[in-house]
């Protein structure tokens, strides 16, 4: 097992090396500059456009947060119902899987058609993409509970609600967080795709505008920003996990 410092430094070094390679290949003229901006140019664009990007990012973040929150709530309710009622699990688990094979870019224009250019189609799209990882991880978490443990709870005369909160939910919590991590990245990407296909503000709208004006430095700037936002959201989920599952730290020791 490599040390913590090594695990941090090696990927960071790789990233910096690749950026350097990119910078050099543009500066030496190996790639024409009008096709590919240098990292320094991207950084400059990022700084120059910061106020405008911030206002667009705010729209995207609000949509993502709202969609993610609703998606989690829907996913939670679906998982609890599917765990509680076996016929619902049998009826809906294949349908939920099938629903995830439908490409987002195919659904998004329909949602714009149905719900207009405002907040609604974005939120709906995010809910559709984020509830799935939450539901699937929770259902598998609920099912991971040892049947012997459920017997033991019966011997202790636990009610259904007590079994849920004392045993099932803690067992599913770890699964839930790995699902939530995926959902968090889907949320940002989902918002951008929905904005791309129609809207008045947001990083996706900004993207279509700079693409039409062939401002590739700004294009890369917004890509970097979207990555950063997704990473920040994942980090927030990890932090929440550490706070909610204090026993996992003891297990790793």
């Amino acid at each position: 097992m490599p040390s913590r410092a090594k695990r941090m430094l090696v990927p960071l070094g790789t990233l910096l090396g690749l950026l350097l390679l990119w910078q050099l290949s543009v500066q030496l003229g190996l790639v024409p500059n009008f096709l590919l901006p240098a990292p320094t140019q991207v950084l400059a664009a990022l700084v120059r456009e910061a106020p405008l990007l911030a206002s667009h990012a705010l729209t995207t973040l609000v949509e993502s947060a709202l969609g993610l929150a609703i998606g989690c709530a829907v996913g939670f309710v679906a998982a609890v119902l599917m765990d509680r009622f076996e016929p619902l699990y049998l009826a809906f688990s294949p349908l939920i899987t099938i629903s995830q094979t439908i490409p987002t870019v195919a659904v998004a224009p329909l949602l714009v058609l149905w719900f207009g250019y405002g907040l609604a189609p974005k939120v709906v799209l995010i809910v559709l993409t984020t509830f799935f990882p939450v539901t699937v991880s929770l259902v598998s978490g609920f099912r991971s509970v040892d049947p012997d443990l459920l017997d033991l709870m019966r011997v202790m005369r636990a009610s259904g609600l007590q079994v849920f909160w004392q045993v099932k939910m803690p067992a599913a919590a770890e699964h839930l967080f790995s699902g939530l991590r995926i959902s968090a990245t889907y949320a940002i990407v989902g918002a951008v795709i929905a904005e791309w296909l129609g809207g008045f503000s947001g990083l996706g709208v900004y993207m279509t505008r700079v693409r039409k004006s062939f401002s590739y430095d700004k294009m890369f700037a917004v890509i970097f920003l979207i990555s950063a936002l997704s990473l920040a959201l994942m980090a927030a989920v990890d932090l929440l996990q550490r706070l909610c599952l204090p026993w996992k730290r003891a297990e790793r020791k």
Partner: protein, 265 residues
């Protein structure tokens, strides 16, 4: 490490099974037929049989977790057939909840019964010392060794508050030395607390070492031969004050073991 003392059965049995006939998952495949056994007050009895002979199924029925096809389970003379929650139950796995600290794990039966957490903690704390768990209150289960986890599981079982305890191979997941320690520890502990125990095991030495009486199960339900009680063997009384190792070398121990093995076939 001391061998277990013998406790003679009292007149009113703590637990009694009358002609239990059992199936797997309530189906028609009969696992055990006409199983009758008695556990006296304060007695430690073993139910011995090969793997797959239906020991756990019988224990499930005794715990009230499943309904037998026929027969009765009596607790101090009361019919409790198919009713869970009247006896304490302990499994081979410690089944501690990883998400709860040891104190909260052992207090679970109290909290489930509606005792406020603070009061449950107050009631459990003095017992930590007696169960060899002093200082473990605030630890997570993953921070404890196998033997300590099993002690915590015993404390939780004790806090279920019933004086009849069913044990499903409670020591078999432990390493040999810890197992011997835990075995004699359990015998002393249950004697002191006046607990009546029925333990199932496939280990002849363990049965002779712990129990005052042994019910030997025979049968092969997987091959269509339902299990039945082939014999009831009394363990000689002479082990008082002997260490487990000394007892295991005595002619009485070996004679008893030979008898049990002869019934196992």
């Amino acid at each position: 490490m001391e061998a277990c003392g013998n406790r003679p059965p009292a007149t009113v049995p703590a637990l009694e099974a009358r002609r239990l006939t059992l199936s797997w998952d309530g189906g028609s495949h009969v696992v055990a037929r006409d199983v009758s056994l008695v556990v006296g007050k304060g007695e430690l009895v073993c139910l011995l049989g090969r793997s797959g002979c239906g020991k756990t199924t019988i224990l499930h029925a005794l715990a009230g977790l499943s309904r037998p096809l026929g027969g009765q389970v009596l607790l101090r003379g009361q019919d409790v057939t198919g009713k869970a929650g009247n006896v304490s139950y302990m499994l081979q796995k410690d089944l501690l909840l990883p998400s709860k600290r040891i104190i909260d794990n052992v207090c679970l039966p109290l909290v489930l019964a509606g005792v406020p957490t603070a009061e449950a903690h107050e009631r459990a704390k003095p017992l930590f010392e007696r169960f060899g768990l002093a200082g473990c209150e605030r630890l997570w289960p993953s921070e404890l060794s196998g033997g300590m986890r099993q002690r915590a599981a015993f404390l939780r079982t004790y806090l279920m508050g019933h004086d009849v305890v069913l044990l499903d191979e409670p020591f078999s997941a432990l390493d040999a030395l810890t197992r011997a320690d835990m075995r004699s520890w359990y015998c002393q502990m249950s004697a002191r607390l006046g607990i009546s125990s029925l333990a199932i095991t496939h280990d002849v030495d363990e049965a002779v070492m712990m129990a005052s009486r042994i019910y030997v199960l025979e049968g092969n339900p997987a091959a269509g031969v339902p299990s039945r009680v082939a014999a009831e063997v009394k363990v000689p009384v002479a082990r008082e004050g002997l260490s487990a190792a000394e007892f295991a070398l005595m002619p009485e121990f070996l004679a008893c073991k030979r008898e049990v093995l002869s019934h196992l076939g």
